[in-house]
Symmetry: C2
Subunit: 586 residues, 2 copies
């Protein structure tokens, strides 16, 4: 059987930065060439970054993507890389779609190309367009209708894009009909808790269905609320793992494969044959001669991360890229002495370095002494820039002009803090981080334009019980490495309080967090109704209380800054509820 | 030919309020019965309100909709209305869809039912699901696969839902095959500028294609960013208008039709026949005997609104329903003396009454005397509750604690005003209105957590030049009615200024508004690229300057409150751009 050395370039493109992304392709193709690869593959929509959302509907952007691809093919050859087959995702448009109402303007396509010998040897578009969860691809793209097969050193390599792998039928089914020796899938597959387990099993199953080896290349890095975890992998036709890349790191995964020679029997299949799901086979031969025999390397299989390490990795990667890709170099946050801001500070320091993190303690007359101490302790442990701005003068000025009592006075304190942070941010150029967690956000236990202020909310998708767990994990990790734990033990162990009135505790307004998070998981993540949740054994009055909080907090959540998505249904982009709705579960 | 009196109930349902919406159906069916109608139709998803977004994925909500429909059929008969055929939109689920990845959970359907004789005589689901602009229906619904035809007094009435009318093929094509005498289309068709003209021409064309009369019933009222304008209408097979309801008002449109008798030739078509686009015909006979002959009434055709009146009507309806459906009874806004806040105050007063509008003037040391006078003048003209809260004490308190200069100091003033409004809102329960317009919002010429504060932004979709035009129209309308014009002439005629530093003018930071709005229209509404805009004759440097402002203001726009959509591409929900993007047109 012919040998083939493939390289999967698990890189971190930037949405909209076509020039930088093309540079990345050249640089990583060089690395692949240095490693002796015959074929190198890049993730879905590498040239444009992913997802581009409504940019896909802007023809100037589509044309720029197409031009960048053409120029890239020439440049690769100019730099002596023309012999490699380079598989790269980009944004194209359909030449055959008929304009009609509702068809995306300009008929854009989520496409993949094979660059070889200074030209674009093959173009193909995603067939299955996902339109659920975080995906809206019916809005943006016209589906492709062919199965692309390129012959590389005598091996037929079929191409597919992300969702094509997840859906039954379509390209995977067609690959068997085409008799390909390798299915190369390019992906922009966002991280979700424990998705890596699902992904490997899926790759194995699809390899069996296609009857050939399967290579899966994914991107890494953050893009607004999404974070891509990499986890690129290669399995053979029997499902054995021949290579696996780490999560959340750029990586070139090289794998040596023994693959069946392409059939020379003309009756096996032909270009133009219509196979599964109306797909037409299209072929291109890049090279017929098998690669010269070589000594294969042992498979590289990255160690699996624990669930907590994986979550922490996603949080760090998501925050880092939000900061860097938006052109910031430092972040600013309020340090209350509580667990939420302490964990956010730790994540920020791991993402961009403690010296680039600015913490402000903003005590009020209701702030306890231990809160001030814990805030200062956090700052010292993490090595961040720390200052104190007491809020009494500003609060008193408002109270001298307006009669505010009760909740209005509590919210005022939070808003004075938000305005203080934004003032420093505008003056000094830091990105403000909001420190709220998912449990309080779900219940509306936050102040709009107050603690909700910020450009990014790193832990908005972590339930409070997970905040505690991840904080303990991060401290244990520090001890394991012989470092100072970043989070004061007191911030983890003390009862949570917003400290907006004397002796206030979260438990005055919210159920205990372990119960609350259990109910939120059922209501928000699993879409269970009130009766089903009560049926699972929860106190009906408690369920009613929690569901009412969640149902009435929708407007506040819409105003919350983006944050890295960890679970299936973060609040925000992929959970879309009417603001104005009279529906109540209870 | 048999006669048929039909009634189109152009009503204003509330999303999620199944009980109230069912009450509306009973009340309006009674009115239709009193008018002698044989058939009464209600808009798309009347029972649930529209759009329900992710509520469709919650099975408890789907089941509640189904139960409400069944109970409604019984209740209509109990109240003596069982002889009427009642066509009503609701949320159902598919009994045949096979669960798979990406299929909306629970297989919900956007459905229509015919209630008659105490039971549900027919159910059918929307076939064409829109997934563009403001619509995301592939995310929420499973398409229907039948053409429902009910025989009412010997006339075959085919049913379709909204997008089924807009797309070629599908139900309209099937109607001709089925030989129906009337096509009844139920709609939730949002207002867009001049959409009424498009709608009538579409109805005429589809009537010709279907070869029969066509009745079109739409809802009215606001739902978050959408506003439904009604404009229900009836055309005969030749396209003549037999009835048309007003825009933005609830209305029962009654029309007398002479329609072809249903074929008694069994060979014409049969239930179970597969016709256009894979649709299966399903039939139900409610009544065979033609209605007793009666004297038809003359057609009722509402006068057309001017474009400006239409826009103003949309703004008033959108604001009114956002306030009322969210349980507020009063609104609060900052009155600067400028045109934007004056127009918003006028809209609010027209929506909920001047006595329910609270205006606050918040002068700073940079506020001119004429601004204070114009703010007070606006308040007096509109009859709203007015107070003054100087912001110097609060601003000085911040400046005593923080070193803020330049833009940071300008933003501080806007944020002190935002915090002041939110304090009063929290204390007294008013909904805060943000007063920004689309031109400044597009360019980022606003302060996050400052003037962007509010629950609703009435004119966020009006370019500044349209703000002036609509203000003049509203004043002229007042004079026409012999009333005091609500907006001070000085607010309209003076040069716009944010008054955040000495002698500041908008024109220091932005191009002249007539030029700016022309460029924004091309870039934002029409998705033209930089080169195409320059090609239309604009100064390249100016185009680059405007496009850069728009491209870099995306994050601020995402944080802006919802507001009534007037044009095709408002900022916010239906224009989806990555926050993190390095793409620049220039």
């Amino acid at each position: 059987m012919p040998q083939l050395r493939i390289a999967l370039s698990q890189i971190n493109p930037t949405v909209g930065d076509l020039a930088r992304n093309a540079d990345l392709v050249v640089a990583w193709t060089k690395r692949a060439a240095e490693q002796g690869a015959h074929l190198v593959a890049f993730p879905e929509m590498t040239l444009t970054g992913y997802p581009v959302e409504d940019l896909a509907l802007r023809s100037s952007f589509v044309e720029a993507s197409r031009r960048t691809l053409d120029a890239l093919a020439v440049r690769l050859a100019d730099e002596g890389l023309g012999d490699l087959a380079v598989v790269v995702g980009y944004l194209d448009r359909s030449a055959t779609a008929t304009p009609r109402l509702g068809l995306p303007a300009g008929a854009p396509q989520n496409a993949v190309a094979v660059l070889h010998g200074g030209r674009v040897a093959m173009r193909s578009a995603k067939h299955h367009l996902p339109n659920y969860g975080v995906f809206d691809e019916f809005r943006y793209f016209v589906p492709g209708d062919k199965l692309a097969v390129v012959r590389v050193h005598g091996v037929d390599v079929a191409l597919a894009i992300c969702e094509d792998l997840w859906q039954d039928g379509g390209p995977v089914a067609a690959v068997r009909a085409a008799g390909a020796g390798l299915l190369m899938v390019v992906n922009g597959s966002p991280y979700e808790l424990a998705k890596d387990d699902v992904r490997l099993e899926l790759a194995r199953r699809r390899a069996a269905e296609a009857g050939c080896a399967l290579a899966y290349v994914n991107m890494v890095g953050g893009q607004d609320e999404l974070v891509f975890d990499g986890d690129s992998l290669v399995v053979d036709a029997a499902g054995a793992v021949l290579g696996r890349a780490p999560q959340f790191e750029e990586s070139l995964l090289v794998a040596d494969l023994d693959l069946p020679a392409a059939s020379t029997d003309a009756s096996a299949y032909n270009a133009g044959d219509v196979v599964a799901d109306g797909l037409t086979i299209e072929t291109a031969t890049l090279s017929e001669a098998p690669a010269a025999a070589y000594e294969p390397r042992p498979p590289v299989i990255a160690a699996k991360l624990s669930d907590d390490a994986e979550i922490y990795g996603a949080l760090v990667a998501g925050l880092r890229d939000y900061v860097v890709k938006n052109g910031f170099s430092s972040v600013l946050l309020g340090l209350s002495g509580g667990i939420d801001s302490a964990l956010v500070a730790a994540i920020a320091a791991d993402a961009i370095g403690g010296a680039n993190v600015y913490g402000v303690s903003m005590p009020s007359r209701y702030s306890s002494e231990h809160s001030r101490d814990d805030a200062a302790d956090t700052a010292a442990r993490i090595g961040l820039d720390y200052r104190q701005v007491p809020i009494a003068p500003m609060v008193d000025a408002y109270l001298g002009s307006l009669k505010l009592t009760g909740l209005a006075e509590e919210n005022l304190q939070a808003r004075v803090r938000g305005t203080t942070l934004m003032g420093i941010s505008n003056q000094d150029g830091h990105l403000v981080l909001a420190t709220g967690n998912k449990s309080e956000l779900a219940c509306g236990y936050s102040t709009l334009y107050g603690d909700a202020v910020g450009g990014f909310a790193p832990i908005k998708d972590l339930p409070k019980t997970t905040v505690w767990r991840i904080a303990r994990w991060r401290n244990a990790e520090a001890l394991r490495r012989g470092e100072v734990p970043p989070i004061p033990e007191n911030s983890i162990s003390k009862p949570p309080s917003a400290e907006l009135r004397p002796d206030q505790k979260d438990s005055d307004s919210l159920p205990e967090y372990d119960l609350l998070d259990d109910i939120l998981d059922r209501y928000v993540e699993r879409d269970m109704g009130r009766d089903a949740i009560v049926g699972a054994g929860f106190d009906p009055a408690l369920v009613d209380r929690v569901l009412k909080l969640v149902d009435t907090a929708e407007y506040k959540r819409r105003q919350y800054p983006p944050g890295t998505k960890i679970s299936l249904k973060a609040f925000g982009r992929d959970r879309r509820l009417p603001i104005t709705s009279r529906w109540r579960e209870s």
